[in-house]
């Protein structure tokens, strides 16, 4: 049961994956339109990815807490 709970917590990774995918597709579109702005777009993309990753990290923390505390 505990392992199943931790597995469900790990599903948060799906949300982070979708978020990073969307951000990257928009960034590629933006660079295709304005190649000269690629530097700014890339730095904004990396920051956005780090923020989107946070949801997956919350899933990791919750999964660890389930495994260790229970």
């Amino acid at each position: 049961m505990i392992a199943i709970g931790a597995g469900i917590a790990a599903l948060t990774g799906a949300g982070a994956g979708i978020g990073i995918g969307l951000a990257t597709s928009k960034a590629v579109e933006g660079i295709a339109r304005q190649p000269e702005a690629s530097g700014k777009i890339t730095s904004a993309l990396i920051l956005g990815c780090a923020l989107a990753e946070a949801t997956a990290i919350y899933g990791l923390v919750i999964g660890l807490m389930i495994i260790i505390m229970l």
Partner: protein, 226 residues
Amino acid sequence: MGGISEEISQNLQYMNHAITIGPLTIPQGVYTTWGIMVFLVLVSIWLTRGMEVVPKKKRQVLVETGVGTLYNMLYGILGEHGKRYIPYLLTVMIYLGVANVIGLFGFTPPTKDLNVTLGLALMSIVLVQYASIRQRGVGGWLKSFSQPVAIVTPLNVLELAIKPLSLCMRLFGNVLGAFIIMELVKIVVPVVFPLACSMYFDIFDGLLQAYVFVFLTSLYIQEAIE
């Protein structure tokens, strides 16, 4: 399965490598932080010694460029009113940057301890509220909770707890997650491959998280003093 979860919970015990001096027990996160502080102070003294108005030495030019770049980046977010908070934010950024990559030199990163990141997040949120009170006065600060409409007041009060919790969990989870993945990778492929992973997890992700932490804090401050 049992071995790994055992090892992870072993590593989560923050009192694991504590030093006991008389009645005091000093956790690992604290004395590693002291070490980083001493290191940073010594480096700062060495870098700022013998500064000149017109720099002739290479190290002064390097320091001025680096500090200037970081300062301008935060100044772009915070603006004229918020520039008094920049030194604190830069200090936190440099500390976190060193703390996250210290694992490369064989130390345990202090940010792997939940209490360290929680302390940093609490400092950040106290600074944000202080900035808000200083800018708007106590009345304006209280009123800002019911902005833009009165019905969101509970959410705004809740945000007082959510913001530091999210800051703290993001940093802690990233460092810990990187640590666990590195341990697993080392079990599966002991040679060469961990090096590539370490480049990403220790250097890139560590520095990125230091930047994200400070960036979010400065966004909160900017929101508080707008």
